[in-house]
């Protein structure tokens, strides 16, 4: 049997299963006390010291990262505030420029309208003058034709004033 190979065959029945054996107790005590001494004095403090140092570095790193993050957040807030201020200023300038442009545009439009009105008046005047001149020429021609026709019909020249009045009356009074 496999297990029987590790259970030693002996004449006696072996140790009491409950009572502690002195050699096991003493060796166990000695081993543990040595272990406790080495752990208490040398090993655990050294390992703990290293752990504490590393945790300290990690904690410091966390704190530095936190401070950097807070600082960056402050910078971002300041940047956004200045950006808003610049945007506000730019908007105000744009409004002002727009108002200025509107004013100038309106002034120029008024000037242009005035110029146009002036030129129109001048043109109307010229047209009126040309029309009057043309009418005079037409009236003179019509009068001349009328006087000649009358002379040919009646054998004597009509009064120039009468012809003129008749022509004027005809030209201004409409067609009959």
């Amino acid at each position: 049997m496999f297990f029987s190979t590790i259970i030693l065959a002996a004449e006696d029945m072996g140790p009491n299963p409950i009572a502690p054996e002195n050699k096991e107790l003493l060796w166990g005590a000695g081993s543990f006390l040595v272990f406790l001494f080495v752990m208490r004095v040398f090993l655990v403090p050294k390992v703990k010291k290293g752990m504490d140092a590393r945790y300290g570095v990690i904690r410091e790193g966390h704190e530095t990262a936190q401070a950097t993050r807070s600082s960056a957040q402050g910078d971002v807030a300041a940047y956004e505030a200045s950006l808003a201020e610049v945007r506000s200023e730019a908007a105000a300038r744009i409004d002002k420029a727009r108002q200025t442009l509107d004013t100038e545009r309106q002034a120029k439009m008024a000037q242009a309208a005035e110029r146009i009105a002036s030129k129109r008046a001048e043109a109307d005047k010229a047209i009126e003058a040309a029309r009057a001149a043309a009418r005079g020429e037409v009236a003179a021609a019509v009068g001349s034709v009328t006087a000649r026709a009358t002379q040919l019909v009646l054998g004597k020249s009509p009064d120039a004033n009468v012809v003129k009045r008749a022509v004027d009356s005809t030209m201004s009074g409409g067609r009959s």
């Binding site: 049997m1 050699k23 060796w27």
Partner: protein, 257 residues
């Protein structure tokens, strides 16, 4: 082996199972396991202490740090609070030593927990008894300590007739006795269970019988299950012993308990 011989199967007496020949004067298998536990525990922490603590821990360093954190967070902080952190080396040593004495019970070819013999549990319990009583005397003075133990504050004076003998027996006798017996009995029981099912499996497999050989699978499966269970028990007993030690030291440190 047939059914008749199987029924005549005799389990060896317990003391025969625990009989180990001395490999050197006064040194038997149990003693060797105790010494090996110390060497392994020291070796792990020695390797851990030599590694650079500033880099991320690996291997032995990682293992040592995990054990330290387990003791500090799961035992000391839960039972003693931050004031008990000074007890880390002591409780850590107890935990590691007991665990490394327990676990050989499931290691092939060793298959014997050193704590399944009464020597080591008895010493550990006796040492804890000395430590928590000394701590109580140190923190409260001899009179204050014994007074707080035997006459717990808040108890009606008439009840001291009952409470004082109970506390006397409980604190000074039952505690160390229960510490030692709990560890020893659990480990011995586990060891015997493994032996029983191993011997039974072996007997059935060697029966050279068409019926008995397949039946042998059953105790063998139980043996495998119990082996896994004993791994848990090895850890659990070390944890319980260490936790109770922390509780007793903490109770002795504070008069209100």
């Amino acid at each position: 082996m047939n059914v008749t011989t199987l029924l005549a199967f005799e389990f060896p007496p317990i003391n025969v199972l625990l009989r180990w020949q001395d490999v050197a004067p006064t040194i038997n298998k149990v003693v060797l396991i105790g010494i090996a536990a110390v060497l392994i525990g020291t070796g792990i922490f020695l390797a851990a202490a030599r590694k650079d603590p500033k880099v991320a821990p690996k291997g032995a360093r990682n293992l040592a740090e995990v054990i330290i954190e387990f003791i500090e967070k799961q035992i000391i902080m839960q039972t003693m609070g931050s004031s008990g952190l000074a007890w880390t080396p002591f409780l850590l040593s107890i935990f590691i030593f007991i665990y490394l004495c327990n676990v050989p019970g499931v290691i092939p070819f060793i298959q014997m927990p050193a704590t399944a013999r009464m020597g080591i549990p008895a010493f550990m319990a006796l040492m804890v008894w000395v430590v928590y009583n000394a701590t109580g005397i140190k923190h409260q003075g001899p009179v204050g300590y014994f007074k707080s133990v035997l006459f717990p504050p808040g108890v009606p004076k008439a009840l001291y007739i009952l409470v004082t003998p109970i506390e006397l027996i409980s604190t000074f006798i039952v505690r160390p006795f229960s510490l030692a017996v709990r560890l020893f009995a659990n480990m011995l029981a586990g060891h015997l269970l493994l032996v029983i099912f191993a011997l039974l499996s072996e007997a059935l497999f060697q029966a050279r019988d068409r019926i008995l050989i397949p039946v042998g699978v059953l105790p063998f499966a139980v043996l495998l299950f119990l082996t896994g269970f004993e791994v848990l028990v090895a850890f659990l007993q070390a944890y319980i012993f260490t936790t109770l030690t922390a509780v007793y030291i903490n109770m002795a440190s504070h008069a209100e308990h």
